[in-house]
């Protein structure tokens, strides 16, 4: 056990168990994330040398390159990275809390709620000429409200002398299916051009990113990630099951509510700006688990970097592979993530 190191802070009030081996992997992943970050800022319609990108990031470079990198590319890269992180961490939390490998933000209805709200927004605020009567800037607000209110609705429906994970997730599936049905209905009844726009959102795309959105998403996500990081030990305890957890002095229901709140807030922020990007919330935690094991102290940061990597790479592929056509990032998250995960399943049979 010598690759573990205990860190105690504030007179033992706060302590961490550091898994040195896992943190080496995480550092490697962080470097990989930075590399992809620079790479994705340098490729696109006009290629900019990665060294120039670095210059621009530190204030240099010529005007045109500056415009391309700072105004066009950086916002979407940031949104991609942080949305990916948020979804992956939310997925990890939910899988730990529900103790089900199939749990993900999609399955408990949060994403579907956001989707239904966005489609409803497009349908309600359109005039007879099919143009929006309010600014498209409000679309993320609709997505956010939809996702959070469905998160709460599922919680309320599932409440009966407390929440059991299985009830939560089954009701989540029901509500999710209902919301998807609503979405399909609205898309069928509305004009087709809106269906394409809504489809784009449901698939998940970061093409509309701008700096204002980045300034909202980054603090929001970082704050929530910090909170998550401080309560990971509760997640470890919850994984033992309700009885063990409560005899360890863990207040199961209160924590469960907090964890659900955290994951809903993370997902709502991410999908408000990046749309309902699928797969990341489901698979990033599994990939992370295969790499560093299932202790949440290391699982959460690993899942976060993998989520960021997945969405960033998916976005790069989406805007370069079929250029000039731009394919939403959500299309490729599974295309790059799934083969890797299947390889991990093959190579590394879990003990």
């Amino acid at each position: 056990m010598n690759h573990f190191k205990t860190i105690r802070l504030l007179k033992d009030r706060l302590s961490f168990l550091l898994d040195i081996k896992a943190y080496k992997k995480i550092i490697l992943l962080v470097f990989l994330t930075i590399a992809i970050f620079i790479f994705s800022a340098s490729v696109g319609d006009s290629y900019i040398n990665p060294l120039n990108v670095l210059q621009i990031l530190f204030g240099g470079g010529n005007d045109f390159d500056q415009l391309v990198v700072i105004d066009f590319r950086l916002p979407r890269i940031f949104i991609a990275a942080f949305a990916g992180m948020a979804l992956a961490v939310a997925g990890a939390i939910l899988q730990g809390m529900i103790k089900n490998p199939l749990a993900s933000p999609d399955i408990i209805g949060i994403s579907a709620g956001g989707g239904a709200a966005v489609v409803a927004f497009l349908a309600i605020f359109s005039d007879s000429n099919h143009s929006l009567t309010v600014s498209i800037q409000w679309l993320p607000v609709a997505g956010f409200i939809g996702a959070t209110s469905i998160g709460f609705l599922v919680y309320i429906f599932a409440w009966k002398d407390g929440i059991t994970p299985i009830r939560l997730v089954l009701i989540g599936i029901g509500v999710s299916a209902f919301m998807q049905a609503m979405t399909t209905m609205l898309m069928l009844l509305g004009p087709i051009y809106k269906a394409t726009e809504a489809n784009m959102w449901i698939t998940g795309s970061v093409s509309g990113a701008n700096w204002d959105q980045v300034k909202m998403l980054i603090p929001w996500t970082i704050l929530l990630l910090l909170i998550t990081f401080f309560i990971t030990r509760h997640l470890n305890v919850q994984e033992f099951g309700d009885d063990t957890a409560s005899s360890l002095g863990h207040s199961v229901q209160k924590m469960r509510f907090l964890l659900l709140l955290l994951s809903t807030a993370l997902v709502a922020g991410a999908i408000a700006f990046a749309g309902a990007i699928g797969f990341v919330g489901l698979m990033a935690p599994h990939i992370a688990r295969r790499l560093v094991g299932s202790s949440f102290g290391v699982l959460i940061p690993t899942a976060a970097t993998i989520g960021a990597l997945l969405v960033m790479i998916a976005d790069v592929i989406g805007r370069t592979a079929f250029s000039p056509l731009e394919v939403p990032a959500g299309v490729f998250t599974a295309a790059i993530g799934a083969p890797y995960f299947i390889y991990l399943l093959f190579r590394n049979p879990k003990k």
């Binding site: 749990a103 394409t196 299947i342 879990k350």
Partner: protein, 334 residues
């Protein structure tokens, strides 16, 4: 469970059969062109080539039979998958069936310009089979071969991969989107009887096999270790279950496109009614699945008449409130 002895369980099944027959009748009689029961009967006894008779013989009857068979098949595969993966969230889709079928249909449409429901049916069946075999292949590798968790994860990853390919193809070929979107939503409308009859042998084989395998499923539900200790050949049973799922879910997706919800929700409702014994559970789920799909299909005709709503939408609208009620009433552990 609501019905807890053999007599009441038998009664419950009988009542479900009667409701099912009623629903088939309703599905044949009601719709945009309202007909009556006499006309429906006359369409077969004294066919006079009138519009009503043609509608009943060529549209309504195939549609009702397709809805009933598909609903039953999906519900049975849901039960099998949930027991196989020990996961209450599993559905036939977890074996990659729907995603594989969807990809195969979109792929053949984009690259080979194939269209038409009849050819879609075979392509979908093929795609579903390939995807399911790939999932079973991946999960049978390594030391933890065919454990529930490995089947689940391999299936979820494969489904995601195939749906991502599908979305990619659709995003780069928008012209095809319209035609195929309707297929991807799942529907029992406009299918000719030939589509059902060509797939029906596979479905029937799947139903019979599912009934025969039900005692073994009870053992499998106890967990892999206990099942092995009781002398169950785990690998063999799991492969058989895989084949039944391919037959039933593959056949369903071929006929009606990917219809979700039934496969995941009906097993829970059936379990709540009749308990965990697969000998009762499988027939009960089959009946309930048929009934839900038939009712949803009739409702789908009336909501935005003369247009129709995809039946998958209606199953969710009708099934969800009931499902939430059941979920709140408390579950026996799956």
């Amino acid at each position: 469970m609501i019905f807890n002895n053999t007599i009441s369980k038998t009664l419950a099944l009988l009542i479900s059969v009667i409701i099912l027959i009623l629903c088939i009748g309703i599905s044949i009689v009601y719709g945009y062109a309202d007909t009556s029961i006499e006309t429906a009967l006359h369409a077969f006894t004294q066919f006079d080539h009138s519009n009503e008779h043609i509608i009943i013989r060529n549209l309504r009857v195939p549609r009702a039979l397709i809805a009933a068979s598909v609903g039953a098949s999906l519900a049975i595969t849901g039960v099998l998958m949930q027991t196989l993966t020990k996961n209450p969230l599993a559905s036939p889709g977890i074996l990659g069936i729907n995603a594989g079928a969807g990809f195969a249909v979109v792929f053949s449409m984009v690259f080979f310009k194939i269209s038409g429901l009849q050819s879609f049916a075979w392509i979908a069946f093929l795609g579903a089979t390939i995807a399911a075999i790939a999932v079973l292949g991946i999960s049978s590798s390594g030391r933890d071969a065919m454990t529930p968790i490995k089947i689940t994860l391999a299936g979820a990853a494969m489904s995601a991969l195939f749906s991502s390919f599908t979305q990619g193809l659709l995003a780069t070929n928008e012209a095809e989107l319209d035609q195929v979107l309707f297929w991807l939503a799942g529907s029992v409308q406009g299918r000719k009887l030939e589509i059902l009859t060509s797939v029906f042998p596979y479905l029937a084989l799947g139903w019979i096999a599912a009934l025969f395998i039900s005692p073994k499923m009870n053992v499998l539900a106890l967990g892999d270790d206990i099942a092995k200790g009781l002398g169950l050949n785990l690998g063999f049973i799991k492969v058989i279950v895989g084949i039944i799922v391919i037959l039933l879910a593959g056949g369903s997706v071929a006929v009606a496109g990917p219809i979700g919800f039934i496969g995941i929700v009906i097993p829970h409702i059936a379990r709540k009614c009749i308990g965990n014994d697969h000998k009762w559970l499988i027939p009960m789920a089959a009946l309930l699945g048929s009934i839900l799909l038939l009712i949803a299909d009739v409702a789908a005709r009336y909501i935005i008449m003369p247009q129709e709503v995809p039946v998958g939408v209606m199953t969710a609208f009708i099934g969800t409130p009931f499902f939430i009620y059941i979920a709140r009433k408390g579950f026996k552990k799956a």
